[in-house]
Structures are given as structure tokens and as C-alpha cells.
Amino acid sequence: MNWQKLERSETARIIDRVAKTPDGTLFSLATSEAVAATLPFYRGIMVVRLTNYATLPNFQLDFLSDGQVFYLLDGSPDPLQKVAARGALNLNERNVVAYVDFFFRHVTTEEGDIYLIRDPDDMPFMDSLSLDQQIRIKREHTDIRVGYNRDDDTFAVHSDLYFAGVLLKATLSVATDGEIEVSNHSMLMTPNGGGMRSTGQANTGMM
């Protein structure tokens, strides 16, 4: 991400906005810094990162913002939904993978984080696996493919995912409002290291 440091006055304004909540005393201008970066799938929305250097260790919070309203990236899909509902999301076949990656970096589940595997050598969870499992992931990995379905106006992202100790090949159906659904999955590796246990091509759907 190409972070740009914001002016002190802009940082002050952001802290002021954040500090308007009754509990917003975590950040102060004297000890905090704000940086921002553009995202290829948003119009008029940036990701803003506020770092407090007074905490031990340094503490960071990320927000989506148009400069006026700040949506805390709180680990749920809620802020992404709110930004998309404002019409700021502009998905296409070139940027949908970046969107999915961003989504999974900022949304988590009770079972843990979800990883879109773009490059197995660049995944933070690899150290948690045995050497055999690491080799298996690299051997099974295929490049991400993207398609557009005109019938229901969705993007299909065919990719490898790592979730709750399970390596999956799956199709991610990404709606133009940004909602993601996982379907057509097959398990490549289970938490105990078992390999190639296909579960068929069932669309498990939503709740």
C-alpha cells in the first residue's frame, strides 16, 4: 500500500472526529500520526491509518473515509457495507482481487482470519505449518482466475483460501455491492495435514 503521511492539521481533524466519541481519548495529536492510501476499487474513499506512538507497543486503527466520515475497520463486514452503500465501490475484473484481499485483511471470523493466497511464499500463516504442509500448499497452488457473470452481475474469483487450518480451492462470488460468498469449494488440506479431501462441488450458500 502506498501510504502518504497527512499534514498535522489533517491529523488533528481526524483525531477530533474520532475523539468525538465518548471513548475517543486513545489518540492525541502530540503522540499520533495519520497516513492515508488510495484503493483501486473505491471512488472518493481512502483508507486512513492512525498510529498512537504513546502506547506500548504502538497501536494502530484503520478507517475508511471520505475525509468527513470515518468508518472504523472493526473486523466485521459492516464498514465495507456502509461505504459500498454510498456508491463508492467500483468493482471490475482488474480490481476485484484487490478488493477481496482487502476485505479478508480487515474482516475476520470467530474461527480466525481468512487468507486469499496470491503468493504462498508471502503468507503470514506459513510459519504455523509443518514443512510438509508448506510444500503441499505450494504444490497445489494455482494462480487466481477472475470471471464476470453477466446474468447476475457478479464476479467469480477462483482462488486458494486458507481458513481455520484448512486449505481450500473455492469460488468467491463477489456482488457489485461488495458482498462475498464462498461456494464450489474443495478441501486440499485439513488441520491435521491430510490432503486432497474433495468435498464435492456443493454450494453451501448462506445461513
Binding site: D23, L56, N58, G75, G112, S128, G165, E179, V182
Partner: protein, 183 residues
């Protein structure tokens, strides 16, 4: 519910809508559960006793990463994703780390160095020592919770945080100390 159904439930829009505050809506429940788990570890219990004796306040923020201690306010912050009402294993590890950072600062054991007065290399050494000490404390807590209490999911989470080799080394070290009768 199978794994993919759980995943899709978590990804679904509209599944969580919480007030726009930094503090977690379920802070009380999360802290109660996290401190209960931490209390099961000898190291964690000592940290909680320290927090109680020194009046450190604990807070949970809606976030999926990070923890910290704010010295000026004697407040510890841990993170837990919005919508969750139980602490993740990571939140418990964060709590141990944040409390150790507080202990370092308040007992002058590994106080934050002054970046203005200290030469750069000495400053870096001090900061690295603080981080290593915090990580060692977290490793002890994870080990004690898994070996004594059988909470294996906290080990899985520690591995996913990138500390598999560190944890294994710690475990081997404890074993060798036990063999030598020094523990």
C-alpha cells in the same frame, strides 16, 4: 454448521451493525472471559494481580489486531473484532502482552527509553529488549494454558501469529530444564 457455512455467515453483509464507537460493545463480557482464561496460567495470574494492585484499567477496542498500554492513563487496550461476544484466543494473548508492557513500564524493569537523550543504537536495543520480554511472557502464558489446562486452540493461534518455532523452542527448553531438575 459446517466450516463454509460459518465462513459465509461471517462474510454476510448486515450480520453486524454496531454503534460507531471505538470501545467494543461486549467489552465487559469479553474482559470477564479473557481474564478468566488468563487466570488459569501462573504467569497470567501474576499479571492480573499486578493490574489489580496498580489500578490498571482494561479496555477492548473493536479491531482485529494490536494491543497496547497507555502509560499516561494506566490503561491497557486489547482488540476483538466487532460482533463477537467472547474473546478470541488472540485477545487473551494480547491481554498478556499488554499487561506485561504495563508491568515493564510501572516497575521500571524495562521502562521505555528516551529517544531524545539516548544514542540511537542504545534506544533500539532497549526497544527490542522490551518486545522480546513481552513475547517471552506471551509464550509462557500460551505454554501454561496449553500444557496445564489443555487449551490447545491458543497454541494454534500463537502458531498462526507466526510464532511456531518460538513456541517449540520454549517447549523444548522447559523439557530440558525439567530433565535437569532445574524447573
Amino acid at each position: 454448521m459446517d466450516l463454509i457455512a460459518k465462513l459465509n455467515k461471517a462474510l454476510k453483509f448486515g450480520s453486524n451493525s454496531s454503534p460507531a464507537t471505538l470501545i467494543h460493545d461486549n467489552e465487559t463480557a469479553i474482559l470477564a472471559a479473557a481474564t478468566q482464561v488468563l487466570n488459569k496460567s501462573e504467569t497470567g495470574r501474576a499479571l492480573l494481580e499486578f493490574a489489580s494492585e496498580t489500578g490498571i484499567r482494561l479496555h477492548v477496542l473493536k479491531n482485529k489486531k494490536d494491543f497496547g498500554f497507555l502509560p499516561g492513563k494506566s490503561e491497557v487496550y486489547i482488540s476483538c473484532p466487532a460482533g463477537q461476544n467472547m474473546p478470541t484466543p488472540r485477545a487473551v494473548i494480547f491481554l498478556a502482552g499488554a499487561l506485561r508492557q504495563a508491568q515493564q513500564e510501572m516497575t521500571d524493569v524495562l521502562k521505555r527509553p528516551n529517544a531524545v537523550t539516548l544514542p540511537e543504537d542504545a534506544y533500539v536495543r532497549s526497544m527490542v529488549a522490551k518486545d522480546k520480554d513481552t513475547l517471552f511472557t506471551q509464550t509462557s502464558v500460551v505454554y501454561e494454558l496449553s500444557m496445564v489446562n489443555g487449551l490447545l486452540e491458543i497454541v494454534d493461534e500463537f502458531h498462526r501469529m507466526g510464532y511456531r518455532s518460538l513456541y517449540e523452542a520454549y517447549k523444548e527448553d522447559v523439557k530440558s530444564q525439567e530433565r535437569a531438575g532445574t524447573r
